[in-house]
């Protein structure tokens, strides 16, 4: 299907009076003030005292978000057209301006997502640095009160999970790459992604500024009934997560439809890139579980506002735990499945060999998706009866089989290959190593009799950081180096790239492998104060953590520099057969002036020739 190019060009374009972001901020402010005043002066029986109340801030926040989205461009691009008014569409800027406006170009949206995610990553990373600084001493010294430390922990976890883990590879790389990979000029619903990206900064800032309303000490899980018992900062936790999950939900709908319905001719199910498979299964997980956690958080929010007794001590607080982990464990696979898919996507290019046992790789990601809904209660071994442990232990152990298939595929691919040790392939090897440790330590957690000791200790902290940073963040950085020429037409400096990779590897493995030891030695989670015999290990962890933080910053600066002024490279420097490398580097608004036709698998490096051709319209 050739795309309809002129479809979205407005009949009568006009300039916006103000830059979209400024307009969004103004509309958000107005929205918040109007609704907040309405709530606290008109509807509240204790009128005007105080100005901001629980319910006024919640409803005011919703008004502010609606105002922000409308102001950024949803009013002209979505609301008015849906009422049949088509002539108000505004010109989206060109050059750098288009990145600060709603954009129908999936590459611009992808970059917006990546930038927002990176912002979240460093905000949450700063929180982690503060935590490690505090933990260098067994007493309170950096934070005056434990509640402030615990709030920092919550901000770190929430922003990392909901704005980086679930967003960077899906909203960012997914939006940018998927349409190009499957030979399309656009995503299925460009307007959906163009507006959903603007929810990410809202969510990040809402969570980051949650201390404005007060401390919350629950961590990223919002555990009940503690959440009811805390100060009001937890409100912004619920709201921020609501915005971020809404964004991911919309992106997932769009990506699923794109993969299912926008594939070009010849891009059959046997030839769909592994990254697209990853996006497909992740999107299905998102479509099921994000509405689930949103509804759960709405109930938590109502518990506070009304207040209702759902999850309080007189209600059923275990219900909240079940509902949270019902989402919470699939969430882990939402984070890590795209990374597994990226290993299988990038490695064949690096080693010039076809993807090994491709069908098993696909079976692997699908079965991880299916099983991920059956494992949640392994987070609750300490609060269920012994009899309930067994099924969850069973599925948790079994899910390592499909996960292991990703290793099998990559190992089979690189065996007897023509291996090129580049920065992306080095980072992927590191990622596989780290995720392996994450997985192997998970075997201990899956076994209830051992988990009863490991649960809620720093062992678990080490374990899930190995899966998430080791699995997802290392792969994310690998992908950023790999697709750098695509983003900018430029490449990185190999020496600096290798330095950056080794730097974060040392910092990461040092910090988090010591966490296993400190956990086994009796360090529990969520404590700014601990028995002093644990201090030496904590100081060592902190030093490695600072090395890691600096390493991430180094990689950021290096990638930033490479994008602006790295050495220029040809359009397809890796000699990849994949379709996204057929487009111009730093692709034009239209990826493919003429629709490509796929004629063979995109991983067939054992034969010469291209995987797709651009048909000559004349002939």
């Amino acid at each position: 299907m050739a795309s309809v190019i002129t479809e979205t060009v407005p009949q009568q374009s006009r300039r916006q009076p103000l830059p979209p972001v400024v307009r969004g901020l103004i509309w958000a402010t107005i929205g918040f003030l109007v609704v907040n005043v309405l709530m606290s002066y008109v509807l509240d029986p204790l009128a005007g005292h105080p100005f901001i109340t629980n319910s006024s801030v919640v409803l005011g926040w919703f008004a502010a978000v609606v105002g922000w989205l409308l102001g950024v461009g949803a009013w002209e691009e979505i609301v008015l057209p849906s009422f049949g008014i088509l002539d108000r569409s505004v010109v989206t800027g060109t050059g750098w301006r288009q990145y600060f406006a709603m954009s129908l170009n999936h590459k611009v949206v992808g970059i917006q997502y990546l930038v927002a995610s990176t912002g979240g990553f460093f905000i949450a990373g700063l929180a982690a640095m503060l935590m490690r600084l505090e933990l260098m001493s067994p007493t309170m010294w950096l934070f005056p009160y434990p509640g402030q430390y615990l709030t920092t922990v919550g901000i770190h976890g929430t922003i990392m999970m909901f704005s980086v883990g679930t967003v960077a590879l899906v909203g960012g790389l997914g939006n940018y790459l998927i349409p190009q990979m499957i030979g399309s000029n656009r995503s299925a619903f460009p307007k959906v992604s163009s507006i959903s990206v603007w929810l990410v900064p809202v969510g990040i800032l809402t969570v980051a500024f949650s201390p404005l309303l007060g401390q919350w000490t629950t961590g990223w899980r919002g555990y009940e009934p503690l959440a009811q018992n805390d100060a009001n900062g937890i409100l912004f936790y619920y709201l921020g997560v609501f915005a971020l999950t809404m964004s991911s939900f919309l992106v997932s709908l769009n990506l699923t439809a794109t993969i299912l319905f926008k594939r070009t001719k010849g891009m059959t199910w046997n030839r769909i890139p592994m990254f697209a498979w990853g996006m497909l299964v992740v999107s299905l997980l998102n479509i099921i579980w994000l509405p689930e956690i949103q509804m759960t958080f709405v109930l938590g929010l109502l518990d506070r506002l009304v207040p209702l007794p759902f999850f309080t001590a007189v209600g059923s607080n275990l219900t909240y735990l079940e509902l949270f982990w019902l989402f919470g464990h699939p969430e882990v696979y939402i984070v890590v499945l795209p990374a597994l898919a990226l290993w299988m996507e990038i490695m064949p290019v690096m080693v010039r060999k076809p993807l090994f046992a491709r069908e098993w790789g696909v079976i692997g990601v699908i079965f991880v998706m299916l099983l991920s809904g059956f494992v949640w209660a392994h987070h609750m071994f300490t609060n269920m009866t012994y009899a309930e442990e067994l099924p969850f232990s069973f599925f948790t152990e079994m899910i390592s089989i499909p996960t292991g298939l990703a290793y099998m595929v990559v190992i089979g691919t690189i065996w007897k290959s023509n291996f090129k040790l580049t920065v992306p392939s080095l980072l992927i090897l590191m990622s596989m190593f780290n995720f392996l440790i994450g997985g192997m330590t998970g075997v201990f957690n899956a076994d209830p009799v051992v988990d009863l000791q490991l649960h809620d200790t720093f062992w678990v902290v080490g374990h899930f950081h190995f899966t998430i940073i080791g699995g997802m963040v290392f792969t994310w950085i690998a992908a950023m180096y790999y697709w750098l020429p695509k983003f900018s037409g430029r490449t990185y400096n190999p020496k600096l790239g290798v330095l950056g990779a080794i730097w974060i590897f040392i910092g990461f493995d040092g910090a988090f492998s010591l966490m296993f030891l400190v956990g086994m030695e009796g360090m529990n989670r969520w404590v700014p104060v601990y028995p002093s015999y644990l201090q030496p290990l904590n100081i060592a962890i902190s030093i490695f953590a600072f090395i890691l933080g600096a390493g991430f910053l180094f990689n950021l600066l290096h990638i930033w520099w490479a994008m602006k002024s790295g050495p220029k490279v040809e359009a397809n420097p890796w000699k990849s057969k994949s379709l996204e490398w057929m487009t111009e580097s730093n692709p034009l608004a239209e990826n493919f002036p003429v629709e490509p036709v796929v004629i063979s698998g995109t991983y067939d490096y054992d034969v010469d020739g291209v995987a797709a051709i651009i048909p000559n319209p004349a002939g």
Binding site: M1, F189, I288, L308, M582, V594, V610
Partner: protein
């Protein structure tokens, strides 16, 4: 690789393109409804965890029944609207959609009444699930009403071009989904 630069764009026949577009839109719509049904399932689960099948004797069966009947009729009018627009009859579509809107508003406003006048303790396990379930239905209904309103306005301004009919049908189908969900929740809250 061979890249042919040309201003000409290969366009398959228009009806093929429309066919593909229809498949895309309806496929995505099914996924969307799949996601949208999750909160309802969650509320059903929560209700049975919290209050099992208990229904208080004081539950206001009359309001619930009227509301359920109105919802049912609104689904039928939405269905009639979809049939009308598939036949290209814009005015019949707008009339039926108008009826759906009125019925939808009345039944949604009755939920406000249920909220205000609830003849049982809001702090009880049944009470809390009742209020939140009705709240979920009301909020989702509001989104449906907004969609219907937009669709009706669009039909008035733009007429029934073939490419637009898809959107008109989707609005009606979304309302039918919401109506069915509301009926299920009605049965769950008043009879289960």
């Amino acid at each position: 690789m061979e890249v042919v630069h040309s201003n000409q764009v290969v366009r398959p026949a228009a009806h093929v393109e429309q066919e593909l577009e229809t498949r895309k839109v309806f496929g995505a719509f099914v996924l969307f409804l799949f996601g949208m049904s999750v909160p309802y399932f969650l509320m059903i689960n929560v209700r049975f965890i919290m209050a099992a099948g208990f229904v208080p004797s004081s539950a206001d069966q009359t309001t619930g029944a009227i509301q359920a009947v109105l919802t049912l009729i609104s689904a039928l009018t939405a269905w009639a609207a979809i049939r009308a627009i598939r036949g290209g009859n814009t005015s019949a579509y707008r009339v039926n959609l108008g009826l759906t809107l009125v019925l939808g508003w009345v039944s949604t406003l009755m939920m406000a009444w249920e909220w205000w006048y609830h003849p049982f303790d809001a702090m009880s396990h049944y009470g809390e699930t009742f209020l939140t379930t009705v709240g979920l239905v009301a909020v989702m209904n509001l989104s449906g009403l907004l969609t219907l309103w937009a669709s009706r306005a669009r039909a008035k301004r733009l007429g029934s071009d073939q490419t637009l009919v898809r959107g008109y049908r989707l609005a009606g189908m979304y309302w039918i989904f919401l109506a069915v969900a509301a009926l299920v929740m009605y049965i769950e809250l008043y009879f289960a």
